[in-house]
Amino acid sequence: MSDQGSTTVMVVDDHPMWRDGVSRDLEASGFTVVATADSVAAAGQRAKATQPAVVLMDMQLPDGNGADATAAVLEAAPQANVLVLSASSERDDVLDAVKAGACGYLVKSASAAELIDAVNATAAGQAVFTPGLAGLVLGEYRRMSNQPPAPDGPQLPSLTPRETEVLRLVAKGLSAKQIARRLDLSHRTVENHVQATLRKLQLSNRIELTRYAIEQGLD
């Protein structure tokens, strides 16, 4: 039995054809698909029952979006790593799902091999940073930096110049190895920079929510 044989996966998607197709691809590569779900509610329940290592998450479900489902799954199975699969037109949702704790994003037009690689990386706890996700994250930091700073309370995090540089290269499609070579850094350092940008973004989500709550007098 290979390493992958022990990796449990849940597939959340409301298109039966897609769900079955992806499940077959995953099983063929040695993953164990422990559950499938076609709604936010079902995703939460089955994640609780099966505690999958990886959750493949569609962005549009009949009873909510991928961000809702990601939050539901992570509440039911806190150790799960959520990988968002999206058609390309749902960028706002993808960003929300990443802020809600998803640790990777892949477009649905990705090849079967890319999908398998991404699930492997997600299972290993690495952020699956596609160029698309890097572009979203860059855009989000720039949006935040254009907001007027709050007079009191925690400041929204921003990127260091080096993190910006690394993210731009990811967004332009360079691999971690190529980036390491180009910037004369170690592979490990590049990975750390990339993961830091996601962690700070998830933090910023909490700060923004808190700030909003205080502004609205909900404290």
Partner: protein, 375 residues
């Protein structure tokens, strides 16, 4: 428009109260104080006329305020009723009195018909109606010689013209608002359809293309067909999303998203990146040229990446491939020979919209076009 009509009916109610008050005072008056001659020759009929005035006002007020019947016949009827009531003065009141008194049905009440005409037909009709009713009323009272000093004409003229102008501004604004609402609804519907198609049909086609790609003859052919249809559908959706007019700001992000073939990795912020339509058109053409060039020269294995960044005061668009790159000097050489499409086309396009281009390429390092456009 309805609020205007409703406001006018409040005025109508007040004018009826005034007209009845005027009647109560004049019906028992004498032609001149102490003459012993009653001012009214037919007081009973004058009360019947006042009853008619009240009934008509109630009817017209309800119809106008609640849109119960078409307004045009009501206004035409109102013209005759008002003119008739003015003329009836000659019948029920003695000339000695009405020649120097305002009487039935009172100037104040006559204003109603001018208001209705102005609201229905605009400022010119309103002005003409104001002057006509004033002249008619003065003629009946045999007061035309006082036309210049009498206040009736300027007041009715002003009421007709100003209300008419107000009404036509409001109805124009309302038409534009309705048009805008309709356009917005149409756009939303278009977007909804695009989303549905994107989610359902496009995904199934993408799945067929993906799963069939490695198969044998028939399967591979089906996959290729699915791929073709996927592309056709995408370009159809992208044309649809171009809907509302040129010259306005266009979202470069959604245009690229719809325009780029699925095998190109596209990275962009989550929010719209708006630029003038002409700039967006040039940038899309530039991206297409660069991608074509990649397909022709970068080698079989080359993949393309497009990155869109919004820095606030400028927009940065990067088109990169990981192919074989352009050999040192080859681009300049080809340009010198005047047969180089890529560099000329791309630089020309970007310079025409006031942007700058930076080309970064080296053998085996791929090719990268970086375009900066200031806002």
């Amino acid at each position: 428009m309805l609020p205007f009509w409703r406001g006018a009916q409040v005025f109508r109610f007040a004018s009826v109260v005034y007209a009845v008050g005027a009647q109560v005072v004049s019906v028992n008056a004498e032609t001149t104080k102490g003459s012993g001659v009653p001012a009214y020759s037919h007081p009973t009929i004058s009360w019947a006329l006042i009853a008619l005035l009240i009934i008509w006002s109630g009817l017209a007020g309800l119809v106008y305020a609640f849109d119960l019947a078409p307004k045009r016949p009501m206004v035409i009827a109102e013209i005759f009723v008002t003119a008739g009531l003015i003329a009836s003065t000659m019948w029920v009141v003695r000339p000695e009195y009405y020649h120097h008194h305002q009487s039935l049905p009172s100037t104040f009440w006559v204003t109603n018909v001018v208001v209705s005409i102005a609201l229905l037909w605009g400022p010119i009709a309103g002005g003409v109606a104001g002057v006509s009713f004033s002249v008619f009323s003065l003629a009946v009272e045999d007061q035309l010689k006082n036309f210049v000093t009498d206040a009736t004409t300027p007041i009715l003229l002003t009421v007709g013209v100003t209300l008419g102008i107000g009404a036509s501004i409001v109805s124009r604004a309302q038409r534009q608002f309705e048009l805008a609402v309709r356009m917005q609804a149409a756009t939303q519907e278009r977007e909804r359809l695009a989303r549905e198609v994107h989610d359902g049909v496009l995904q199934v086609l993408a799945l067929m293309r993906r799963r069939g790609a490695g198969g044998d003859g028939d399967t591979a052919e089906l996959a290729a067909l699915a791929g073709e249809q996927e592309r056709a559908l995408r370009s159809l959706l992208s044309q649809q999303s171009q809907a509302p007019g040129a010259g306005r700001a266009t979202d470069l992000r959604s245009r690229l998203q719809a325009d780029l073939p699925p095998e190109v990795a596209f990275s962009a912020p989550a929010n719209a990146v708006e630029l003038p339509e002409t700039v967006v058109t040039e940038l899309l053409a530039m991206v297409r040229t660069a991608l074509d060039n990649t397909a022709r020269h970068a080698g079989e294995e080359a993949r393309s990446f497009v990155l869109l960044e919004d820095l606030g005061d400028e927009v940065v668009l990067t088109v990169r491939d990981d192919g074989v790159g352009i050999q040192d000097g080859r681009l300049a050489e080809a340009e010198a020979q005047g047969r180089m499409g890529v560099s000329k086309s791309i630089r020309g396009r970007i310079e025409s919209i006031g942007g700058t281009v930076h080309l970064d390429t080296a053998p085996d390092l791929g090719t990268e076009w970086e375009v900066h456009v200031r806002r």
